[in-house]
């Protein structure tokens, strides 16, 4: 997008958005060159919460990196657990018992709902609506309680293990999950859609704002709801199924409008689809052990391994290089929002400040995951 003619003069100023700014959800900094309220150039500056997880991975054993994974995307921590478990299981050839796979899917999907709810809450906060935030937190709290029951922690779960999960789920968890799904289904139409989705102010605010074309998504490598909001039918759970996802009947919501509203709708529909997956998984939950046979000390064969999972924000890839040692030789984390954010600069050019922030909110940024 080129800068409109009326903006092509030199009365610009630089607005430093962040690293401590309410809209950047953490410590992202965006250097905006502005002309009045129009953005001439937007340049995200990263690294304010960089912790060098890739080096930390090289320094410890495979198992010792597991707690770190949850600290990157603290909103969908279990998917990061899952991604790391999958790539190591792939490399070391570890089998996972079926019950553990089901439990993984249930917890990861619950976590996905929690992540989308929190995104929704934070997005509405970006748009100045504070009340929906607390309604969403009320629901999210239920999920967090459920997950605390099985994982022992509330945010940075370290639940998955190579070859299974840390702890079996009990009847109370199953009953609680069913109750939660019933409750969320009851609250969704009224507190989420009637109050917010159909609200004319919100519609006017995010419809036709933040246009990201499918081609832009491809060139920038944007995945997840951002790509699906641009009409790209791409969900790793369907396209290259992992775990036991092929056994469930669910849809991948795709919207063609390419605007913030489309991304919003994708996420709202994904909540429903995740609930469907959880229900099916609970129905089909097989009995059996939750931990498979895994050697205490992992020494995967030397080689190159790649594994991808679908997190709430898009495709998370682990590029693992092993040299036959008990430490990962090299781990590269392909985090979804790193790529999703990289298109911000191009799209935000020529936008109004308020629209750009609404667009940024619709990208669903989790800064620790970008900076790793």
């Amino acid at each position: 997008m080129t800068v409109p003619v009326h903006l092509r003069h030199d009365e610009t100023f630089v607005l430093n958005l962040g690293p401590q700014h309410p809209a950047t959800h953490g410590v992202l900094r965006v250097k905006l060159t502005m002309d009045g309220e129009y953005i001439v150039k937007a340049e995200p500056v990263l690294g304010y919460i960089h912790r060098m997880h890739e080096k930390l991975a090289e320094g410890g054993t495979f198992a010792q990196f597991m707690p770190n994974t949850a600290r990157m995307d603290y909103l969908h921590a279990l998917a990061f657990n899952h991604g790391w478990a999958l790539v190591v299981e792939k490399a070391a050839g570890i089998e996972v018992p079926e019950r553990a796979e089901y439990i993984r899917v249930i917890t990861v999907e619950l976590n996905r709902i929690a992540s989308h709810l929190l995104w929704w809450a934070a997005f509405l906060l970006d748009l100045g609506g504070f009340t929906p935030l607390l309604y969403a937190f009320d629901d999210r709290e239920k999920i967090v309680d459920l997950l605390e029951r099985v994982t022992g922690s509330r945010l940075t779960y370290c639940y998955l293990r190579f070859g299974g999960v840390y702890n079996d789920i009990d009847d109370e968890f199953i009953a609680g999950t069913r109750d939660f799904i019933k409750r969320l289904r009851g609250r969704m139409p009224r507190l989420y859609h009637d109050l917010v989705t159909h609200n004319i102010i919100l519609i006017k605010r995010i419809k036709d704002i933040g246009f990201v074309s499918a081609e832009q998504c491809r060139r920038y490598g944007a995945t997840g709801p951002v790509a699906r909001g641009s009409g790209i039918d791409y969900d790793i759970r369907k396209n290259e199924p992992y775990s036991v996802y092929p056994e469930f009947d669910f849809d991948v919501p795709v919207f063609d409008e390419c605007d913030s509203m489309a991304r919003y709708m994708v996420r709202m529909h994904e909540i429903e689809q995740s609930m469907r997956i959880i229900e099916q998984a609970l129905d089909k939950l097989p009995a059996g052990p939750v931990m498979g046979k895994a050697p205490k000390v992992l020494k995967p064969e030397a080689g190159y391994y790649y594994s991808a999972v679908e997190t709430a924000r898009g495709s998370l890839g682990h590029r693992l290089v092993c040299n036959g040692d008990k430490n990962p030789y090299k781990l590269k984390l392909r985090s979804p929002t790193f790529s999703n954010l990289s298109l911000f600069g191009e799209v935000a050019e020529g936008m109004l400040l308020a629209d750009a922030l609404a667009f940024m909110g619709s990208l669903d940024l989790v800064i620790p995951e970008i900076d790793r």
Binding site: A63, M66, R71, L191, L195
Partner: protein
């Protein structure tokens, strides 16, 4: 032009619906818990910092100083020492220091322990002005617990 009128009508309706929803919520009971006065129930799996498990009878730590927890810890926050057991075989624990400032509560240590010597405490009031409060002597803690039990 039709968009203009339908915007006004549907928009107005959506605004009124919004007000009706918040009005209904206004009269419904609160859902929050007032923390210091009400304490939520803790799940059985709650992960506090770790603590040593004492023997049922003697109260001595179950630990045999194998060092598995130390090796499993990704953040190097456990340091322990033992000495040769006089009279018996194996080793006895003499020092067990947990540097809780580094701990990420992953639970690897508890999982790696084969001798039922470690567990998560139920301590959640962990706030202090001094960093040194979190360099915990778990032997001392176990002794205190034993004294309380007696």
């Amino acid at each position: 032009m039709s968009g203009y009128w339908s915007d006004i009508v549907t928009g107005g309706k959506s605004l009124v619906t919004g007000l009706a929803i918040t009005a209904r919520e206004f009269f419904r009971p609160v859902v929050t818990e007032q923390y210091p006065w009400e304490v939520p129930t803790m799940t059985p799996l709650f992960r506090g910092h770790i603590e040593l498990i004492g023997n049922e009878e003697t109260g001595e730590p179950n630990c045999v100083v194998c060092g598995m927890c130390q090796r499993a810890c990704p953040s190097v926050c456990i340091s322990l020492d033992g000495k040769k057991n006089e009279g018996g075989k194996g080793k006895v624990l003499t020092r067990y220091i947990l540097d809780f400032t580094k701990c990420s509560l992953c639970g690897s240590c508890v999982e790696s322990c084969n001798f039922n010597a470690l567990r998560f405490s139920r301590e959640y009031n962990l706030a202090s002005f001094d960093k040194n409060d979190f360099i915990m002597d778990l032997m001392q803690r176990l002794e205190d617990q034993n004294r309380c039990k007696r």
